[in-house]
Amino acid sequence: MAIAHAHASGMGGLRGAGDLVARMQMARGMRIKEAKEYVAEKLKVSVSELIDPVIMNEVRTDLGLGVITPLPGVAKGIEAKFNIAKVLDIDINCVKRFKERTSL
């Protein structure tokens, strides 16, 4: 059922920019239209490109935002979240804690 919903009406998660739009709903309480426009502006893409896996794979790779296939040397996991926080200009709780717990 999760797959059916994801295909019928989802943004595709890491395949698109679903996780990034979700972060704006969670961090700033934005409704879907505002959240999509905010992310599109930050990524310098159009709103319609946010769900395009071909375009978003390139954009995410270039900006180090994490992709489905974690090739060697590409930002992944917490590394990608450091970049997401910077690109979207938001605080990410675990990134903040990571900085506090390390000598960064």
């Binding site: 998660g13 972060r23 409704r31």
Partner: protein, 348 residues
């Protein structure tokens, strides 16, 4: 007149005419309108839903550009429930990399805040490790579940025994005491998970034990927001209607018993909830068309008054989805499309 494949609310297949579908759409919407004192769907919306049910495709989807965010309750639990033998971090990775999830939730099989309390110290390192190796926003979730606070599972007299005996006041006092303990447990576990780095806390199946359960979740949200103004709280409801098990509880001057989604969301906003997950229950003896029209009527009214993102529950038995263990994609995808496009949802 041609016949179309559809289903009943229990998932069983049926064949129906256009006229029968439309009749069910109208009565389903009017049922919600009558119960919730809200507007039924418009003629354009009935026509749109009729088109959705008459599509010959097995699977349908929203139009490009109308996509929304997916959030999940009991996420890691569902992988274990179907017997896939992976641990919870692997389950999160499966959702992130294989199932197209936009967000995910870590949870324990004993999915309630009370039993989480004594094992929170074992949950935190799992959460912290998951946060290192995943990228999508990660909630920690559980239920307020006030049922666990009454005897024999908890310390307080059981309202379900007191009420049939006519001991109304004693039952109400028991609920009030349970609220106090439940709020402490939610705030305790929520604090630890947020301190471990969770992106949000999901208070799931809120209101399962009625108005006292809902009030506990609202008060816990207030306290967590006071402590951490930036914390994201998602509140998912248990049912469409707040059962008046106590019946006289109020929040910000409003009686909670009897509230439908469009009123529940205003309480959630007052408490500081970030994302609200309303519910419309599925009636197994009515058709899928009847159930979906009814669900969209409730959710549309909720979305219209909301100032926060709305992610309705669309799992088995809610949001127009049929009541059976393997909901068929024909109805799940039709419900998904119609709910998103009619109600202008932010997610589901």
């Amino acid at each position: 007149m041609g016949k179309y494949f559809s289903r009943m609310g229990d998932g069983s297949p049926i064949e129906v005419t256009e006229k029968e579908i439309m009749a069910d759409l109208v009565t389903g919407s009017e049922d919600a309108a009558d119960r919730g004192k809200i507007a039924p769907m418009t003629k354009e919306e009935y026509d749109y839903l009729l088109d959705v049910f008459c599509m010959k495709n097995k699977f349908v989807s929203v139009e490009q550009g109308n996509e929304v965010i997916m959030s999940y309750d009991a996420g890691t639990l569902k992988i274990r429930r179907v017997g896939v033998n992976v641990d919870r971090i692997q389950a999160l990775q499966i959702y992130e990399k294989l199932l197209g999830a936009d967000t995910m939730e870590l949870c324990h099989v004993d999915y309630s805040f009370k039993p989480i309390k004594p094992i929170a110290g074992f949950e935190q390192p799992i959460l912290e490790q998951a946060l290192l190796s995943t990228q999508i926003p990660l909630f920690y979730g559980a239920m307020p579940n006030l049922g666990l606070y009454s005897q024999p599972d908890g310390p307080f007299p059981n309202p379900s025994e007191l009420l049939p005996q006519g001991n109304i006041k004693e039952a109400q006092e028991s609920y009030e005491a349970a609220i106090e303990d439940s709020v402490k447990d939610i705030v305790y576990a929520g604090t630890l998970m947020y301190e471990s780095g969770a992106d949000g806390i999901n208070l799931d199946t809120t209101g399962a034990a009625g108005d006292a359960d809902f009030l506990a979740a609202l008060l816990a949200t207030e306290k967590l927001k006071e402590k951490y103004p930036d914390i994201c709280i998602e509140m998912g409801m248990a049912g469409e209607f707040i059962l008046g098990m106590h019946s006289e509880l109020t929040y910000k001057g409003e009686r909670l018993a009897g509230m439908f989604p469009h009123k529940q969301v205003k309480m959630a906003e007052e408490a500081g909830v970030t994302i609200f997950g309303p519910v419309a229950n599925t009636n197994t003896s009515k058709s899928a068309a009847w159930n979906l029209a009814r669900a969209t009527t409730f959710m549309k009214a909720c979305c219209e008054v909301a100032n926060i993102p709305i992610h309705p529950n669309m799992g088995m038995g809610v949001g127009g989805v049929t009541v059976n263990d393997q909901p068929p994609v024909d109805i799940v995808s039709r419900s998904s499309k119609a709910m998103v496009e009619i109600c202008r949802l932010d997610g589901l």
